[in-house]
Symmetry: C2
Subunit: 219 residues, 2 copies
Amino acid sequence: MTARTSSENARDIPEATVARLPVYLRALTTLSEGGTRTCSSEDLATAAGVNSAKLRKDLSYLGSYGTRGVGYDVDYLRYQIAREIGVTQDWPVVIVGIGNLGHALANYSGFRSRGFRVVALLDADPERHDEVVAGVDVRPFDDLEQIVGDQSVAIGVIATPAVAAQHVADRMVACGITSILNFAPAVIAVPDGVDVRKVDLSIELQILAYHEQRKAQSA
Amino acid sequence: MTARTSSENARDIPEATVARLPVYLRALTTLSEGGTRTCSSEDLATAAGVNSAKLRKDLSYLGSYGTRGVGYDVDYLRYQIAREIGVTQDWPVVIVGIGNLGHALANYSGFRSRGFRVVALLDADPERHDEVVAGVDVRPFDDLEQIVGDQSVAIGVIATPAVAAQHVADRMVACGITSILNFAPAVIAVPDGVDVRKVDLSIELQILAYHEQRKAQSA
DNA sequence: CTCGTTTTGTTCTCGCGTTCACAAACTCCT
DNA sequence: AGGAGTTTGTGAACGCGAGAACAAAACGAG
């Protein structure tokens, strides 16, 4: 999925671990807001919903930020993980496709609080260009190149219907976006060096349905 | 994640395969709508964005539905996968939390077209009980037990703020729901026998940010 | 009927990720 | 100061999934 060209950095964190770091970050934030200053790997693992051995191994890829016999300083570890993920800096993001899902994404407070700033909402439909969503006004899709260039946007979100997804992705890649979060129910092709992550709401439900069906059968 | 009690069924499909079956299903639907009657594993793998060897191995867990030297009958295979997942039957679903995301989910046409029927929208806020979203009127959260009982609902969707998620999950489990799709940014605990899948929008962005940061560093 | 071609279904090998188990290191109490 | 009790960090074993490679089966041509 993530083909790095060559010369791996010294810190080579497994993909499975990378996917869990944001979970730990959230758990640490919750602990910190609850007034907890220090926690053991067992505490944090419980809060994050994982095994404590796995948690310790994951953290060991970042370095030795704990103290044996004591545990982890919540705020210190939180900062270290945030720095490793890259959410201590500000990431400008464009969202294309302002339907129901695009609205929800634009209004989602979890983005801003984690270093992501929605700098533009784009839609091909001129009907929508009057709207203002979450304090950002919707602009024509053709403004993509200018916005991405002006604000150095590296991350794009696709929330369009399936038929438009590949076209939007092509345009994004052409103007320099190198990370795409795709909510459209379609497989999109991108060149090497561009990361794509896909979130598909109905696929998750279908996976649940499969297990549900098996529960019913074995009863 | 999915702890089955005992006496595994003869068909024991790996979790990784189960997660890809809906992707194949969607690809087959696209092919069928495009007029394709037959396809090779190579064709379908391309459409689904996976390796053809992996595709054939996945399908082999379901049975032998292809013809050597020819390929797969698109509609026949599509039906077999749909039956295996369980989306040939009708799954009633309740959605709790009608904020921006809840709206988007209620309006998402991909649910209905895949056998999922939203039978109720619930929200604790009385302000919202007047609304009608996607043809379904929003009702008080306390109606949960009655609706789930009357309509034999097995699947629940949580689209509330993080603080409410555990409480909603507890109530769902108490009245018989055994599969939960959780969009709230919180880890929820459920008893054995209940499946939970979690979708977290900001976590996906954070994973992209990590890779983006590394691209920038190595440049 | 036989042979060559195509494509599936399956076996085998390899690598990654998870988990166990324990040594190293730190704190606290006496 | 020394020993008991905790908790981290990591080496090693294990299991699952990915991909390559091939045998089995169907089809078509001659």
